[in-house]
């Protein structure tokens, strides 16, 4: 029974919401504009750290702290976008993956009185939790989780609506044409560079909201939550759902997070309770590795055999880098 209930539980939990938002941001980048952002974790991290440190160390109220997080993610988008968006697609990918790694190092090793190294920032949730209307938990979620989930899924709904409105607008049509043929858009007199930068900022801000929800759900901000795994899980979720569809990152993320949780539960039962797999082949510490190997393999197979994912339109996604 656990095999069903635990994945179902995890698929809607705060952490899943944070991945949904990260994948939605990537959808703006990759799905609609054709930008390869391999550093979505950096946006989530910068948002979460800015909010967490502002509240925990400087006693900033909750809402201004969130706004601060958004501002920092906009700055990050400018930092990564300005040098790279005039160049070939791979340069953005290289810079984003590198910035994400260096930021993680930065949060782990410097300013320990604010970032607390690997222990992470904590003690910033009281303002948010005091507004909690739920008096008790249900369905296996604590009342804090329920409150984070309510806000998180409302944010998902809001950003879905925003994305839907934006991509139907003239602005969104320019983004999609940039994805299809940059030179053609340029010949029509559009400033491709600024459109790309705006898309990078918008997707990054949605990613930062993913960081907020994840941080509130865990009640802490730790550097290792934002390693490259975060980005690539979000990417796999997006591709699974199908890029360039408003709702597909949501479905892809819930489905994929549920599947990962199912795999985790299954493997730990196989080596523990049921004792089918001997310890020499797989021990409990290696379950995470096996799970992530599955993430990598799914990303490869999806990209090779079904790049449009579940809902995508193959014709719409004829992206080419050269």
């Amino acid at each position: 029974m656990d095999l069903l209930t635990i994945p179902l539980h995890d698929a809607f939990a705060p952490l899943a919401v944070s991945f949904v938002l990260a994948a939605m941001g990537l959808n703006i980048h990759y799905g609609y504009t054709g930008l390869l952002n391999f550093g979505q974790a950096a946006f989530a991290a910068v948002g979460a750290y800015a909010m967490g440190v502002a509240i925990a160390s400087f006693d900033v109220p909750f809402i201004p702290a969130v706004i601060l997080g958004v501002l920092f993610s906009v700055l990050l988008a400018l930092l990564m976008g300005i040098p790279t968006l005039r160049l070939r697609a791979d340069y953005l990918a290289i810079v984003t993956i590198a910035v994400a790694e260096v930021l993680r190092l930065f949060f782990t090793t410097t300013n320990k009185d604010y970032f607390h190294a690997r222990d992470g920032v904590s003690g910033f949730t009281s303002g948010f939790r005091n507004a909690n209307p739920y008096s008790e938990g249900m369905l296996g979620f604590s009342r804090n989780d329920l409150w984070v989930m309510t806000v998180g899924w409302l944010l998902v709904a809001f950003f879905c609506l925003l994305t839907w409105l934006l991509v139907r607008s003239p602005w969104g049509r320019v983004l999609k044409s940039i994805r299809e043929d940059e030179d053609a858009v340029r010949s029509l007199g559009k400033n491709v560079y600024y459109y790309k930068l705006q898309a990078l900022i918008l997707g990054g801000v949605i990613g930062a909201f993913g960081g907020f929800v994840g941080a509130l759900g865990l009640a802490s901000v730790q550097p290792d939550s934002y390693n490259l795994d975060f980005t690539f899980i979000a990417f796999t979720m997006l591709i699974l759902g199908g890029a360039a569809r408003v709702l597909s990152p949501v479905v892809g993320a819930v489905l994929f997070w549920g599947l990962l949780s199912f795999l985790q539960t299954l493997l730990s039962k196989l080596i523990g309770e049921w004792g089918v797999i001997p310890d020499s082949i797989l021990n409990s510490e290696q379950i995470g590795n096996v799970r992530f190997m599955v993430v990598g393999l799914s990303l490869m197979l999806l990209m090779i055999y079904r790049p449009q994912g579940i809902f995508g339109d193959k014709k719409e996604l004829a992206i080419d880098g050269r």
Binding site: P83, R88, D90, M293, L299
Partner: protein
């Protein structure tokens, strides 16, 4: 209250460390329970005036925030251990009774007899300096030759991996995000052969190169060649490389149990001094010699052999190369084979500096990107020069920034280069737009 405490504790800690020049094991001071806990203070007193001989019979007192005093005296080894109880999370004062110092022993000028320790660890150690300060203080200037030497060595090894990355990019247009994992492959494969199978290191490395040649051929055969023939876009292929990177990285983590391992051989070579400037080892020289030899052979082959010229023709214009009778697929296959082997060889050597861990790939990937971008993506000489620049830069940067952050310097250079000369030092402009 809870918020102000870490700051206050930190300030106290800072004062203690700065004024007394002692190392105090610090930990985040966030103990919430007010229980009394039993803790231990240790100290070892040595007199630097007489060649660090132990100082015996010195009385040391711990005063807790309650005012309780616990006293101990150093033994024949100059050691003292005081067990005391104090309210958790409050600082204690440690004082040394100067009158009990033996004849001739004197506290170092500037050393105070009373320290405030705010560590919350169960065992705290303090240090009172006795005798004149005769430590060899190494200045930043003294470290420059050593940093350049280490940087060049690191850059030479990394250049082999960068060359492969650049060649694959040049001939196929693909940025291979899994290239770092090919480096890890070299380290892990050599480790398995050397430690698990007991093969000597000098034999394990050539065997690893052979394995990597095979792996390079195989990955082109079953993955990249079919994708190219199908006309898969480059962005889609880049995402496939990311998937492969993820798969391989976690596979290596699974194999090594996420631990950092060492080879059986050549782990601690004896260092020799070079004109008082830096320390080198025989192992370093051998690694450098092999790297230079391999790089020379590959670069000469690219310039002067038929195959090398064919490779450069494909990099320049695949369609034109094909129409002039070059078997483009064969050239690309060889580039994958050679590129993988070069990366694996670099990995086998880099493991000396980084240890054998699944995280080599991710770290090296970032530096490789910085190197090939600085040198010029797609240019073979650029890969070499970029690697050397990045290698020296990250080592030199440790003189001014914390060692943990040294790789950030490489990234800063990457961004600056993209802003001012996106094609890199030796790259050509048409490749970037």
């Amino acid at each position: 209250m809870v918020k102000s405490r870490p700051l206050a504790v930190l300030a106290a800690l800072l004062v203690a460390v700065l004024t007394l020049g002692i190392a105090v094991g610090a930990s985040p001071a966030r103990a919430d329970d007010e229980d009394e806990s039993e803790r231990t203070l240790t100290a070892q007193l040595e007199d630097s005036a007489s060649g660090n001989t132990p100082v015996e019979g010195v009385e040391i007192t711990v005063t807790t925030s309650d005012g309780d005093e616990f006293t101990g005296t150093t033994d024949a080894d100059g050691l003292v251990e005081i067990v005391f109880t104090s309210p958790a999370g409050t600082p204690v004062t440690v004082s040394l009774d100067e009158d009990t110092l033996p004849e001739g022993a004197q506290l170092r000028p500037g050393t105070k007899t009373e320290l405030t320790v705010s560590s919350t660890l169960s065992t705290i150690s303090v240090d009172f300096a006795i005798g004149p300060d005769n430590r060899d203080v190494e200045t930043k200037l003294d470290r420059i030759p050593g940093a350049i030497y280490n940087g060049l060595l690191f850059g030479l090894v990394m250049a082999m991996a960068a060359l492969g990355l650049s060649m694959i990019f040049g001939t196929t247009g693909l940025t291979n995000f899994a290239h770092g994992e090919l480096v890890t492959l070299g380290a892990v494969c050599t480790y398995l052969l050397n430690v698990a199978a007991g093969i000597p290191f000098l034999l394990a490395v050539p065997m690893t190169v052979v394995v990597a040649l095979g792996f390079g051929w195989l990955q082109n055969r079953i993955l990249w060649a079919p994708l190219r023939h199908r006309g898969t876009g480059l962005i889609a292929m880049m995402i496939v490389t990311i998937g492969l990177q993820f798969l391989m990285r976690n596979f290596f983590a699974y194999i090594t149990g996420s631990r950092t391992e060492l080879y059986d051989d050549f782990t601690s070579p004896t260092g020799k001094d070079f004109a008082g400037l830096f320390t080198y080892t025989g192992r370093d020289l051998a690694v450098a010699a092999v790297s230079i030899a391999v790089l020379t052979v590959v670069l000469l082959a690219l310039s002067y052999t038929r195959l090398g010229r064919a490779t450069r023709a494909v990099a320049d214009n695949p369609a034109l190369a094909a129409s002039s009778g070059i078997n483009v697929d064969r050239v690309i296959s060889i580039v994958w084979v050679v590129g993988t082997a070069l990366a694996a060889l670099a990995g086998a050597f880099l493991a000396f500096q980084l240890g054998i861990t699944y995280q080599i790939g991710q770290l090296v990937l970032l530096l490789l990107f910085a190197a090939v971008t600085v040198g010029g993506l797609g240019s073979v000489w650029g890969a070499l020069i970029g690697s050397l620049i990045i290698g020296v830069l990250i080592e030199l940067s440790t003189l001014v920034i914390p060692t943990d952050l040294k790789n950030a310097g490489a990234l800063a250079l990457l961004i600056v280069i993209l802003l001012v000369r996106p094609q890199g030092i030796l790259g050509r402009r048409e490749r970037i737009g």
